[in-house]
Amino acid sequence: MSQRSRISSKSIDWISLTVFLSLLIIGWLMLYASVYDSNVSYAYLDFDSIIGKQTIWLAIALVAFVVVYAIDWQFWNTFALPIYGVAIFLLIMVLIVGTEIKGATSWFTFGGVSFQPSEIAKFATALAVSGFLSSYKSDIRTKNSILISFGLILLPVFFILLQSDAGSAIIFVSFFMLFYRRGLSPLFYILGFSIAGIFIGSLIFGPRIIVLAAALLGLGILIYNIGDSWRSALIFFLISSISILLYFRDLYWYGIGIVAISTAVYSFMMFQERLFRTLTLVLPAVLISTMLAFGSTFAFESLLEPHQQDRIDVWLRPEKSDPRGARYNIIQSKLAIGSGGLQGKGFLKGDMTNLNYVPEQTTDFIFSTVGEEQGFIGSFGVIFLFTLLIIRTIIIAERAKNVFIQNYAYCVAGIFFVHFFINIGMALGIMPVIGIPLPFLSKGGSALLGFTIMVAVLLRMDMARFRA
């Protein structure tokens, strides 16, 4: 590849830039549609109206994009730690002098403009983690590096949780995409997904069936490891059917008893055959799963706050929640999206949107405006654009010649992915209600600015691949 001029029309990733700009425009239009009221004429640059404010923020974001794009990428690597330090400082400051909005003390307010430092924290943590993991001294497969990388994430998470802004804190799981790419042991992911699975399963189906499933799985592994193939398969099949049958006959504990006795018998056989390794892995796993399953209800009731319990109930056990209370947002959002049909009702023609039937439609539930007015075609389009942006970011990561750039790109991909998946999933009713914005579409200046800067830095870094 030949040397090219530093900023040339060919060096920028046109696909990403186009997707980014499209989302900016769609975002402005959808927000306009969400606040549209045929009785009110809007001054688009009036700072007191929602859309006027957003227009001004959009202009600021575009200027910021150009400015940031002009800065050499090495700057971000060099100053990663100082920026991180400033971000942490701002997170502490907001606890002291911040303004409380909707129960979270996570905003600085200067004369009508509010600003959320957790937006900077995301970007700063991305830089810091990328910087740390690009050093030749660090290796995510070693204990030390794991501790430091996790620490870099947990520090801002800690302060954000103190602001009682659980939504922004959840975003920081995004960095596990980068960790995976850098080779963090799959054990973490298996563990994480198992615990989540047991928790969710226990809440939906009750802990009993989950315990039975875990016990049967454990027994299956034992039998698989010791018996000859077809006879043991038959035995396993028999035990499973009997215990499941007993479960449905309200004789659950007899079923568990049968599985427990069989497990004891096979454990003894394995003990004699000196197959300790499998034994020490399977038995504790089953035991811990049992505790988790029975502990889930307890954890749910004692560790979560009532409004958080409501949100989990709405997600997993809708029959337990009040359709006029906690479930109302989701019901209304799904109704609005569903009513859009294939083609949508047309721009500014969504009656549920116009009549404000969906609470929080300008922020968390902006996707319902897309769904109602633009239909499935619009929903698909927005999901497609986000997916394209994330895939393109991963491609940028993979073609980077510098580990720092690759790391940073994965961070950006992770952050966009978590925002996009949770927010749209929530509007569609498949994810719990977590108050996080949809990038470029939801109302909010500091989020818009934060995402724009992230993209600008990414595109600037991508240019580095043309240099030798």
Binding site: Y180, P323, I337, F376, I383, I394, Y410, L428
Partner: protein, 621 residues
């Protein structure tokens, strides 16, 4: 590309596919949402149960329900152009009230443009029926039925109590039962038996179209429930007796309590001046009515004198004091104490207490018949000194411990939340009072306790209960206002069916009751005499800084008593003049149903006697 990168890409792609699939399901494959969306809003309606009714002991209706309407509105469903001036006329409000009621503070979490809130409350049925015909012109507005209480008579205001809006605390503590704007029992039976009367609310979830019309139930009504009406209550009160008593008490300040001795059931309970319970029945004039009752600080019609006011009992106390003194051996039924109209406390005659002219009391009965003060001064002195001259506290506290047996000095536990305790002066009261006196106090300091004066204070309810104890010769059931609940799931508290015994030997009752019988035949209460009913009573004239209070308590007939009563009339002078006739008229009315025509003059006199300036029902409609 690296394997790990591929895994990430596939993961992202699968997740995106999930979102697209779910979108497709909502928007293309599942037509339910498009149909439902046409109905636009999901509404939760509360179905209010009807509140339990209250009957008197003869099944006469005391409290019934009638309907008023709250008008609720969903802001978003109100069209931009409506005829507001017609709406205001229909509802009888002016334009500024309309503007104030419909424009709520939208930034407050209490209100939302898509959630109904109360636009106008307490619309009367006649106003509502006019509005209802025009309701279709005002989408977004709809009525909610509310039960309010009605009283077919105008009596028993205090005992029945009234309803009022729930407080913030009620809503927070019992959020399942109450929400803002609901009504709850604030006093009287309405308050005590709120749990039985209120019933259970039902809910209905309904999908409404954008004109506010119901379209269909939500999820086939799986989450709906119907309202369960509250339990009716049969009260122990006797409406006829109560109404008669209130009539006699008109123009007087005081209270009357009548109890059925064999059961502890309260037959009548009144405080005068009273008010018409219909004044506080929650329609829109209520605020004015309540204020005018509440601001009357001279007569305090809202103050329930029957259970809240503490009065010195006066001479009626001599009856139970006789019992305790005989039990302790200070008196014997036939003891004579000489009286020449003066009780000389010291031998030199420097310190005297007065008595009045009457024959010498040869025994307890005669002492009671003529209400001899000397007799009881001497008895009290001996009683206290028998535990040591220099330790009067011991003697007094022994007396007090017996009085506690009679249910004095503490609440009797009637099902009425404002009940007072009265006051029993234990020795520490006098220790404190005379702490600066050298050598402390002596029995002579508290002589007036012997005739029911001084620091001793009782509620009228306690006095009536004393009459019941005497009627029963030594026991009582805690007085109560409810006989039964119509719904089986509620039962009377076992407390009300537990017999309370008094530690007095049976033999001492007859001398006292004999004295009480003589009071009406030959003694201080002759106006209470009824030809065909043997009435046992005792007058009291409770000394007061102004005009004395007139007291009378009684039971009748002497054998198998049906009624025990206490009448307390403030500033009415001699007990035999006002309180005794009222008590005996009520007893005659209750037992015979009519008043003998020879006593008609007495009835007329009592009805017309006015001791306070205004009518007893100062703001009757």
């Amino acid at each position: 590309m690296e394997d790990k990168a591929k895994v990430i890409l596939i993961f992202v792609a699968i997740c995106s596919f999930f979102l697209v699939a779910k979108s497709a399901q909502l928007q293309i494959f599942d037509s339910k949402y498009q149909e439902q969306a046409r109905r636009t809003t999901l509404d939760k309606s509360i179905k209010y149960p009807s509140r339990g009714l209250i009957f008197d002991r003869n099944n006469k209706l005391l409290v019934s329900n009638s309907t008023i309407y709250d008008i609720e509105v969903i802001y978003n469903n109100v069209p931009d152009v409506i005829d507001t001036s017609e709406l205001c006329t229909l509802l009888g409000i002016d334009k500024s009230a309309f503007i104030k009621n419909i424009n709520k503070n939208w930034s407050s979490p209490q209100y939302h443009k898509a959630i109904p809130f109360t636009f106008l409350s307490k619309v009367r049925p006649e106003q509502f029926s006019v509005f209802q015909e025009h309701l279709h012109k005002y989408p977004g507005f709809y009525p909610i039925e509310r039960n309010i209480r009605n009283y077919p008579h105008s009596n028993m205001a205090h005992a029945l109590g009234f309803l009022g809006e729930v407080t913030k605390k009620d809503v927070q503590e019992k959020s399942d039962d109450y929400r803002n704007g609901d009504y709850i029992g604030k006093s009287g039976l309405e308050r005590t038996y709120e749990y039985a009367l209120k019933g259970e609310k039902g809910v209905g979830y309904v999908l409404k179209d954008n004109l506010g019309r119901n379209v269909e139930s939500f999820e086939n009504g799986r989450l709906d429930s119907s309202a369960v009406s509250g339990s009716d209550i049969i009260s122990t009160l006797d409406l006829d007796l109560q109404a008669y008593g209130e009539e006699l008490m008109q123009g007087k300040m005081g209270s009357v309590v009548a109890i059925e001795p064999s059961t502890g059931e309260v037959l009548a309970m009144m405080s005068s001046p009273t008010y018409n319970p219909n004044l506080l029945n929650l329609d829109r004039n209520r605020g004015v009515s309540y204020d005018s009752l509440n601001l009357d600080t001279l007569y305090r019609p809202l103050f329930d004198r029957s259970v809240m006011a503490k009065y010195p009992p006066g001479s009626i106390f001599k009856t139970i004091f006789s019992l305790v003194a005989m039990e302790k051996g200070i008196l014997t039924p036939n003891r004579t104490i000489y009286c020449d109209g003066v009780y000389e406390v010291d031998s030199k005659g420097l310190y005297k207490q007065k008595c009045h002219q009457h024959p010498t009391p040869y025994n307890v009965s005669i002492a009671l018949q003529h209400s001899c003060n000397t007799y009881y001064y001497q008895t009290l002195r001996e009683f206290i000194d028998s535990y040591g001259y220099s330790t009067p506290g011991k003697g007094l506290d022994t007396l007090i411990s017996y009085l506690e047996d009679f249910g004095l000095g503490d609440k009797l536990g009637i099902d009425y939340h404002t009940e007072g305790k009265g006051f029993l002066p234990r020795s520490e009261v006098y220790d404190r009072m005379y702490s600066s006196v050298y050598n402390g106090w002596r029995s002579t300091y508290v002589l007036s306790l012997g005739i029911g004066q001084g620091e001793l204070e009782l509620t009228t309810l306690q006095m009536a209960n004393l009459a019941a104890i005497l009627a029963n010769r030594g026991y009582y059931y805690p007085p109560h206002l409810v006989k039964t609940f119509v719904k089986d799931e509620f039962t009377l508290k076992p407390w009300y069916t537990t017999k309370k015994k008094v530690r007095i030997s049976q033999e001492y009752y007859e001398p006292v009751i004999d004295g009480m019988a003589k009071v009406t035949t030959l003694g201080t209460g002759k106006l209470a005499y009824i030809t065909d009913i043997e009435l046992c009573g005792k007058t009291g004239t409770s000394e007061n800084a102004g005009v004395d209070h007139s007291v009378f308590f009684a039971f009748a007939p002497r054998e198998n008593p049906k009624i025990a009563i206490a009448v307390y009339v403030e500033n009415a002078g001699f007990g035999g003049a006002i309180a005794a006739p009222i008590a005996s008229l009520m007893i005659e009315k209750y037992i015979n149903g009519t008043i003998n025509e020879r006593r008609q003059y007495l009835e007329d006199r009592m009805k017309t006697t006015k001791l306070i300036a205004t009518s007893s029902d100062p703001i009757d409609q």
